[in-house]
């Protein structure tokens, strides 16, 4: 007996409640945008410059005492947070201290870091400094730029590839799904104020790749079925295609999620944000390839008869062919 997440034969109507599914996406996108505009992202030092110090001590951490020790140094905005992880030993008390970029300096000077370290040693004598990272505002500005370019470039390259392999309507559908995923991921990071750093950009690009992976598989089947069922209307063909690939979509998402969840729980706190972005991305990516990409494709309409280039069937957008 096989484990089956999806019944062998499904005939679900994925276009039955477009107002509900698309509405959900629209609401979430609006929420993401509002959150992004109101509170913005919690940028890590990669993107806004400054210094982070990771400390470890056997004594319980008193964040207030740490703050009192550092504040006389007048370093501007200093954020101190304690880090928890199931992987830590009992006497392993970890904090992250973030110091803003100092006026007129590229990276925080060694003296400033030494001062901070000395001040903290007064509070917790056994404290050790596990990592100290400092990024100057010049580099962080460039990192933001390259990150944005990388994401746009990835989306652009994919748009072109799908356009070449399929039709432009497919490309638009896939990219709509992609943008949907990227926006929702950024939205979650803004809403939950999880640290947004360079690694998250890597996660975003992987989400781009994953979401596409999913979408392309569905589209591949749509292309095949469009040739197979020449008489059926587009909505029906799309529905058949999604149903036929549903088992695979779910299987792959589940195996990927299994791997990611184990990394999320056991992989340590350093990459937890990164893994969280991926988990979220896999979930919305799966959702969007079924509900967003296909609906956009349905709206745009596609060329039906692949043997004759210009014969379009009745659809209001059918003449808008590239």
């Amino acid at each position: 007996m096989r484990l089956k997440l999806v019944p062998q034969e499904t005939n679900w109507n994925f276009f039955g409640k477009p107002r509900l599914t698309l509405g959900l996406s629209v609401v979430l996108i609006v929420l993401a945008a509002v959150s992004f505009l109101l509170q913005g992202l919690n940028y890590g030092i990669d993107f806004r410059g400054g210094t982070t110090i990771r400390t470890e001590s056997a004594q319980p951490v008193d964040v207030g005492a740490y703050r009192d020790a550092i504040s006389p140094l007048n370093l501007g905005d200093v954020a101190i947070s304690e880090v928890f992880d199931p992987g830590f030993d009992e006497d392993q008390n970890v904090t992250m201290i973030r110091i803003q970029a100092q006026e007129g300096q590229e990276s925080v000077s060694a003296e400033v870091i030494a001062e901070v370290e000395n001040a903290l040693k007064q509070v917790a004598p056994d404290i050790t400094f596990i990592s100290v990272e400092s990024v100057g505002p010049k580099v962080s500005g460039e990192l933001i730029k390259t990150a944005v370019i990388a994401v746009l470039l990835a989306i652009g390259a994919v748009l072109v590839y799908i356009w070449l392999r399929f039709e432009w309507q497919f490309a638009l559908g896939a990219v709509a799904a992609l943008v949907h995923d990227v926006i929702l991921t950024i939205g979650v990071f803004s809403e939950l104020q999880i640290k947004f750093d360079l690694a998250i950009i890597a996660a975003l690009l992987t989400i781009v790749g994953y979401s596409l992976n999913d979408t392309v598989v569905v589209f591949d089947r749509v292309r095949e079925n469009l040739r197979k069922y020449k008489k059926k209307d587009l909505k029906e063909v799309l529905n058949i295609s999604i149903n036929e690939t549903l088992s695979r979509t779910v299987m792959t998402s589940v195996t990927t999620l299994l791997a990611l969840i184990s990394l999320f729980v056991l992989g340590g706190d350093v990459i937890r944000g990164f893994v969280f972005a991926m988990i979220w991305g896999v979930i919305v990516g799966t959702y969007s390839s079924v509900f967003v990409a296909a609906i956009i494709l349905y709206w745009l309409g596609v060329k039906r008869d692949w043997s004759k280039p210009d014969a379009n069937t009745g659809n209001q957008f059918a003449n808008v062919d590239a």
């Binding site: 992987g87 990388a150 360079l198 690694a199 790749g209 591949d220 990927t256 791997a259």
Partner: protein
């Protein structure tokens, strides 16, 4: 019907075996690492029973390339330095002045007297007392121009001379600036490499980034500030004629001169000529030594050009002091006692033995041609790296087990095939990583875990397709064949799009992100390979042996 030719079978199995063989050293990481270190030590001439024993740790015929561990896994320091290329323009202009002065002085009859004007640091302004002849003066100065020695700048001259009222303005040409920038950065890179090599750490990464940046990563070093100390400051050694000694910091130096503080006598300043007689670039050797009073000192030797300049200058200026300047501070200002012909000398100062040794190292490695500004500094403790590796290992194993069990439950026998392919897949990733000498970072581990999840995708696509085909096709063999055939376009399209993003990540990303892109990209290659060829081969071989009438996928 379900056939794979023999040569293809051999090729597929051979590739798998090769990949696993390449991956094998990583399973004995510390052992192979010790072995490699011992070999490296032998290559530099070291020997001894201990090294002999260490070279026995690993058989010679086996591959010995390991996956490099990134800084975030091993601990160490990372610096991104920007070379202040403009520093060199200034030095160039300052050294132009004596040349221009001597030239125009000889032509005093025609252009009148000249005077150096204060100017921006990257230009030289000379006022001519007869403004109507400024054009002639400029033409004379233009005669000093030399062709630029670089590929892109061929055909242009190194300086541009223009006139501004009664002043002749000399600047470096655009082509010369570019050529100088390039030379400066390459020189800086080389010097940094030499200094780090003197300390002898394992596998430092010293790379040029963009036009004027240098990335320095040294595993195993205590902190970024320690690394900065090794790279040192500029250690620019120059010898200047001393105009006078003063205790007034704000004294007027006069044109062409500057005021420099003394390094060990507080409140003492020297007015020196800005253009040096000789500079540290002309040094060929520097060694720690002792002076006649047995105090630590540094002895040095110039190359022939430097020796000639130094010899001529000392011969002409017996009795006057000259200043030995290190990075803008006067180490000492001895009075020239006699002509020094041989081009060697000794620097005395209030050094400790350690300081004289350090100074000798810095001088020997050569001065950095320009200052460095550090844009990024990261120190990662080895404990954090070890924790991350540990956590990554556990997470990978759990992820692996979960996916294996899940695949078996879903696809039975076929799931087992996919699982074997998956294990092989991870082996192949490590083999490829070792082969290309890639660096494994923490996000890289995440990339591998993600690949574990996604690698089964291609197999899932095929298996699902076979399930579908079983409903309509004639017999299981045909269904398997159709399954592979029809799933291929989806597999390729889906993986090519993901691969595109991995390539972009690699091209645009840096450090850890790049590590992620590498494992993701390699993971896609190996997973497509294992799905299309390896599992297929396994299924075919299984099918040939069992000849099942019906199959359940």
């Amino acid at each position: 019907m379900l056939q794979i030719e023999l040569w293809k079978r051999v090729l597929i199995l051979g590739l798998c075996a090769l990949g696993l063989l390449l991956a094998l050293p990583n399973a004995f990481y510390t052992r192979v690492e010790t072995y490699n270190d011992a070999l490296a030590a032998q290559a530099t001439g070291a020997s001894g029973p201990e090294i002999e024993a260490q070279t026995e740790l690993w058989p010679d015929f086996m591959p010995r390339a390991l996956v490099n561990l990134g800084l975030d896994l091993r601990g160490g320091a990372h610096l991104l330095a920007e070379v202040q290329v403009e520093d060199v323009y200034e030095a160039r202009m300052t050294s132009m002045w004596p040349e221009v002065r001597d030239l125009l002085r000889e032509e005093r009859e025609t252009v009148g007297t000249i005077r150096l004007q204060p100017s921006a640091s990257d230009e030289l302004r000379v006022r001519v007392s007869r403004p109507e002849l400024v054009g002639e003066a400029a033409a004379l100065v233009r005669g000093l121009a030399r062709p630029v020695t670089s590929v892109t700048g061929a055909g242009s001259n190194d300086i541009e001379v223009s006139t501004d009222g009664d002043e002749v303005v000399v600047t470096l040409s655009e082509a010369e600036r570019r050529a100088t920038d390039d030379r400066t950065v390459r020189q800086a890179l080389e010097i940094i490499r030499r200094r780090i090599d003197e300390v002898g750490t394992r596998e430092p990464t010293i790379q040029r980034q963009g036009s004027d940046r240098i990335l320095i990563q040294v595993p195993g070093i205590g902190s970024a500030s320690e690394l900065k100390q090794i790279i040192g400051t500029t250690a620019q050694l120059t010898f200047h004629p001393v105009v006078r000694r003063t205790s007034n910091e704000d004294a007027t130096a006069g044109s062409g001169n500057e005021i420099l503080p003394s390094i060990d006598e507080e409140g003492t300043f020297y007015v020196v000529e800005s253009a040096p007689v000789v500079s540290g670039e002309e040094l060929v050797d520097a060694q720690p030594s002792f002076d006649q009073n047995n105090r630590p000192a540094v002895s040095f030797r110039f190359n022939p050009t430097g020796a000639r300049k130094f010899g001529d200058y000392t011969a002409e200026n017996i009795g006057s002091p000259f200043a030995i300047v290190l990075d803008g501070e006067v180490i000492s200002a001895p009075v020239i006692q006699s002509h020094i012909p041989g081009g060697s000398g000794i620097i005395t100062g209030r050094f400790s033995v350690e300081e004289s040794t350090n100074l000798a190292v810095l001088l020997r490695a050569g001065a950095l041609p320009a200052g460095l500004e550090f844009l990024e500094e990261r120190t990662i403790g080895p404990e954090l790296g070890a924790d991350s590796i540990e956590a990554g290992k556990i997470a990978s194993i759990v992820a692996f087990a979960a996916v294996l069990v899940f695949m078996f439950l879903s696809y039975g026998t076929f799931g087992v095939f996919a699982n074997i392919a998956l294990i092989l897949n991870v082996g192949l990733i490590f083999g490829l990583l070792s082969l290309i000498g890639a660096t494994l970072t923490l996000p890289g581990i995440a990339g591998i875990v993600l690949t574990i999840g996604m690698a089964v995708d291609a197999n899932v696509l095929v298996f699902e397709r076979i399930r579908e085909e079983l409903k309509t096709a004639r017999g299981p063999a045909r269904a398997i064949e159709l399954g592979y055939e029809k799933a291929l376009s989806a597999i390729l399209d889906a993986n090519i799009t993901t691969f595109i993003t991995a390539v972009i990540l690699f091209a645009m990303g840096s450090g850890p992100v790049r590590g992620f892109a590498i494992t993701l990209g390699l993971g896609i290659l190996t997973s497509v390979f294992t799905a299309i060829f390896v599992t297929r081969l396994m299924i075919v071989m299984w099918f040939e042996r069992r000849r099942p009438k019906t199959i359940e996928v």
